[in-house]
Symmetry: C2
Subunit: 284 residues, 2 copies
């Protein structure tokens, strides 16, 4: 399947790891495949994308959405995987039951790690997944996930479990794991106190803590985290290694989040190479 | 129109310049809005995107294309411009006469520099613009361009002028300028010898030379150059300054182009921050 990685005459470098996002487009550039591709570039992997839907979106919410037909999703996926190859896949907005099932089947037939971000609603409460698709997420998509990354609202939507404190995150994880992903990362960011996430495969347990940042410009946080995890897995890191590195990256990106538009601004995907890009400088 | 750039409490930094690409999606990640967004991140501006079409594409060619309706293009554009605001716009694949005219009208009503890359066919010869749309490009889109960036095939397609040597580039430029863009950059990369581009507004003349690189992995070169020019204009650079900086950036990206898939691999958008992203290192 993989044809990349072979240097050719005159090529200065070999190919980086390849990561594919299957998700929606956010015109404002802060979330969706835009956040995914920016994260992948920042983390040194080659980012590719299968579009599932196109949204008209900005800092205030989602003003419109156009879903791609399943055949278009399938064609994009096959174009990428059959020629270029992939080292990890990440999913985001999948919109409908038909697209969830199409993507689950495609990922099930591709032998690489898959990070599933079970996106339900946007930061503004706009629905990015039909209610009728929830069962397909539970029974088709989660079983093929290497890591699922629900936030607490998505945990409730998928499992009925409500988490009100850190203590509740273990049972939330167990409820998600019962659907079949190898690992689950429960994102506790909506609880008060430190931003705490809980990673487990049912035996190992990892608590990831970061101080809560006083910055409301967090648009794209979930997409960025999931893409960073996929980037780490594509480089050959273990799940706990990839998740820890991703948490560090997204924490820096949130710290650098900036105002843009009248509502919630984006995280800063370029925070690690500030001086190079920001000031147009040399080749560090 | 512009609401960005104002720091808010708790935000660590002010917003970077904002650049909007209006173009198609390349699933393989090397060209289209993927190349645009990667270029923008690398050059330190906030990248946003209005999708005009979604292609299933890889290193071998374009396997399928799905055009967005004009209302979706209009909605995405308004979501971005009316809330977030823009400092420069860049156009790429516009697919049909209706989309060309829609985008020309939108850009005409937005008072920022516009870089028009009059994409006709892909590197593999796949058509990315209907023949019936050529007249709309000439009479609606070129007149609202601050800079148009045709290659020699696109010059011929738009003006009938065939360029066989550097000497012919002046008349090619005059023919394109007759349609109304403020500046034209004729890309002579398909001629033999050095890679020479010619920039003029009808009075000033700039010849941009770079040694020809022995690297066939050049997928995304045109999108990357046009996006880099738009990024420079968004930062307040003059057209000659932005074009010179963009030429330097794309030359480095071509030097770093790598094999990926069985055909033409992509340029390296991250060449300037090699050590940071590639090796997952610190916060340089």
């Amino acid at each position: 399947m993989s044809a990349g990685g072979t240097g050719s005459a005159g090529s200065a470098r070999s190919a980086p790891p390849r990561v594919l996002t299957v998700a929606g487009s956010d015109s404002g550039g802060g979330a969706g495949i835009q956040a995914d591709l920016k994260t992948m570039l920042a983390l040194g992997v080659h980012g590719m994308s299968v579009l599932t839907a196109v949204t008209a979106q900005n800092s205030l919410g989602v003003q419109g959405a156009w879903e791609l037909p399943a055949e278009a999703v399938r064609a994009q996926y096959r174009s990428v995987v059959d020629d270029i190859g992939v080292d990890a896949v990440k999913t985001g907005m999948l919109s409908s039951a038909e697209l969830v099932e199409t993507v689950a089947e495609l990922i099930g037939g591709t032998d690489v790690p898959a990070v599933v971000d079970p996106v339900g609603v946007s930061k503004h409460g706009d629905s990015l997944l039909a209610t009728s698709a929830l069962d397909s997420v539970r029974t088709k998509l989660l079983p093929v996930a290497t890591v699922a990354t629900p936030n607490l609202d998505e945990v409730t939507q998928l499992t009925g479990v409500r988490v009100e404190s850190e203590a509740g995150m273990r049972s939330a994880a167990a409820a998600v794991l019962s659907y079949g992903p190898a690992w689950v990362l429960i994102k506790g960011g909506h609880l008060s106190g430190d931003a705490v996430d809980f990673l487990t495969d049912g035996s190992e347990e990892h608590w990831l803590r970061a101080p809560r940042l006083d910055n409301r410009h967090t648009h794209g946080t979930g997409c960025t985290l999931a893409s960073a995890i996929a980037s780490g897995l594509a480089k050959g890191e273990s799940v706990p290694e990839a998740v820890a590195a991703a948490k560090e990256y997204v924490t820096g990106a949130i710290a650098g989040g900036f105002a843009l538009g009248g509502g919630i601004g984006p995280v800063d995907h370029g925070w690690r190479f500030g001086a190079v890009g920001r000031f147009g400088g040399g080749d560090a």
